[in-house]
Subunit: 328 residues, 2 copies
């Protein structure tokens, strides 16, 4: 009998197959078929949802509450909508510390304030001890559409911009679990991407926040839908010293690490510098870089290629195996 | 140290205190403050959310998927909106049977079709074995507002209409757990309340679906907000023979049992008969009854009173202790 495996939740190939073969086939409709970070509904409304099961619930740089707001807010922003209204649904484990819940509610309040959203509706369920792990949160979000991102508009010569360093969220959560006995000052990058909203007006063609599966998965899913290839340069990809150190030590590829406050976007070649400068003005975007471009001369259509530090060309595939369950 | 108890999830007094003292105080805003079954947002949009943790996930008359759609759809309907778009977020336990998931997805599809909604966006998380119980579902819903229910419009002489028999959902789930060694043919009443949408135009003042806490909790929360009392008559309250039998045997009060396809509404005295007839036309409403009225001569303002079969007058309070965890 087939059973659900942890890999299904990785944001990689297995999850994509599940979405294509089960979710899309079962619920086929024009809103869902887009598989965007949010559904664009009538009345210029965008709608998105995410459940958060991160372990541990408190980590350097944030907690499950911060994550629950920023994650949903970011899904709206990268799909071309101004985040406005959030629903908050809590699943609590019997025995969960009241004090921890109060801290998390406070984090939610702060994060909502920072990204300009209101908590407008909610629900609370309590399950017996051992039937969930402390607290799981679902937030859904409603926003107002200001841009219609389109993969069809992407052309060779368009630039790929990464808004900051990779992997802080994953490394912070991983080390907070204490599994590796490593100490580090890495803080999660968990943050709202509201500073990217003006970038839509400056001509960005497409954006995606980098979560489960990391940069490599997000960009290979983009490349697959293009009639050309995407080439990124390893030396251009910003990494903090701490993440570089931890990933080298643990033998993990930072290109597959989840972030919670970074996005990758496609900008027309001629506007790329202007857009990069605009992004760099915000403290959350100051490490932004043009890391590659859409190509029609290198590789085959649909491929994501990495020009490595060693001078080679490497084909990047979407994440296939689970790196870290319950990262978000 | 204070800890979360199962009672918090009961839909009774403890949950209300939590919502008032924590959720409302923390997230104060005009949308949330209404504490309606859905938030009325700009652009004539209503927005609601619910997580479903029912145990067992399959029960006579439905499963967690049917419940996940109907519950959210009903929250929109009773708050004056036509349900339109649903988000679907799954939290799956590692090892959950694929076959069961496929059954649940099919139930979701059927339920969505029946109530005229589309699944437009979603999310899937997988947690390790023992970190949830098989599957938890969150659905949020967006609908278009067709009526503005208002407690302020309620007047003495208004009638209380119950759309059907009480308690089938609770009894079906309770017996499916096998805790009582009872056999019964009771099926959950889980169903969409779309047939109530035309009732808004006929002049209904207020509606609520009867879920956790049951009829008594829903009506005592209504009564508390009124400058008058609410009187209901025990002999008018429709109960199926099976629910009557099971609740008598187990010593449970059916007035506190959760339903998943029943609503209670307030209709102007002069229109009550017409509205009742309209409700009875639908197969889901054929057991509907006028069970009481808004009073200014009996009891004190804010009270919910039951005129008992024995001829007495009993004050009904909101549910205080948990009857059944994970009923929905």
């Amino acid at each position: 009998m087939r059973k659900v495996s942890l890999e299904l939740g990785s944001g990689g190939k297995l999850m994509r197959d599940f979405i294509n073969q089960h979710i899309l086939k079962t619920f086929k409709n024009p809103f869902l078929n887009e598989l965007s970070d949010s559904a664009h509904l009538p009345r210029e409304i965008a709608f998105t949802t995410d459940s958060y099961v991160v372990d541990p619930i408190f980590f350097p740089g944030g907690d499950i509450g911060t994550l629950g707001i920023n994650g949903t807010v970011n899904d709206l922003i990268v799909s071309g909508a101004v985040p406005k209204y959030i629903s908050l649904s809590l699943i609590l484990e019997e025995g969960f510390l009241w004090e921890d819940m109060e801290k998390i509610l406070k984090s939610i309040k702060m994060a909502a304030k920072r990204s300009g959203v209101e908590i407008t509706t909610g629900d609370t369920k309590v399950v017996r001890r051992g039937q969930c792990d402390k607290i799981y949160i679902n937030t859904s979000g409603v926003g107002t559409i200001i841009a219609r991102p389109s993969i069809q508009k992407i052309r060779p010569g368009d630039k790929i911009i990464l808004t900051g360093t990779l992997g802080e969220h994953s490394v912070a959560v991983m080390l907070a679990r204490g599994d590796f006995g490593l100490e580090s000052k890495v803080k999660s990058d968990c943050a709202p991407l509201n500073f990217l909203l003006p970038i839509w007006k400056k001509g960005a063609r497409w954006m995606r926040d980098i979560t489960r599966g990391g940069l490599a998965t997000v960009l290979s899913e983009l490349a697959e839908k293009l009639p050309c290839s995407v080439l990124i340069e390893e030396e251009k990809i910003p990494l903090s010293r701490a993440v570089r150190g931890a990933t080298e030590l643990l033998g993990i590829e930072p290109l597959y690490l989840a972030c919670e406050g970074r996005a990758v976007l496609v900008a027309p070649g001629k506007k790329a510098i202007e857009i990069l400068e605009e992004i760099k003005k915000d403290s959350l975007g100051k490490k932004a870089e043009i890391i590659g471009e859409v190509e029609d001369k290198v590789g085959k259509p649909g491929q994501l290629l990495l020009s490595t530090l060693a001078g080679g060309l490497r084909l990047l595939e979407p994440l296939t195996s689970e790196l870290l369950p319950r990262i978000c």
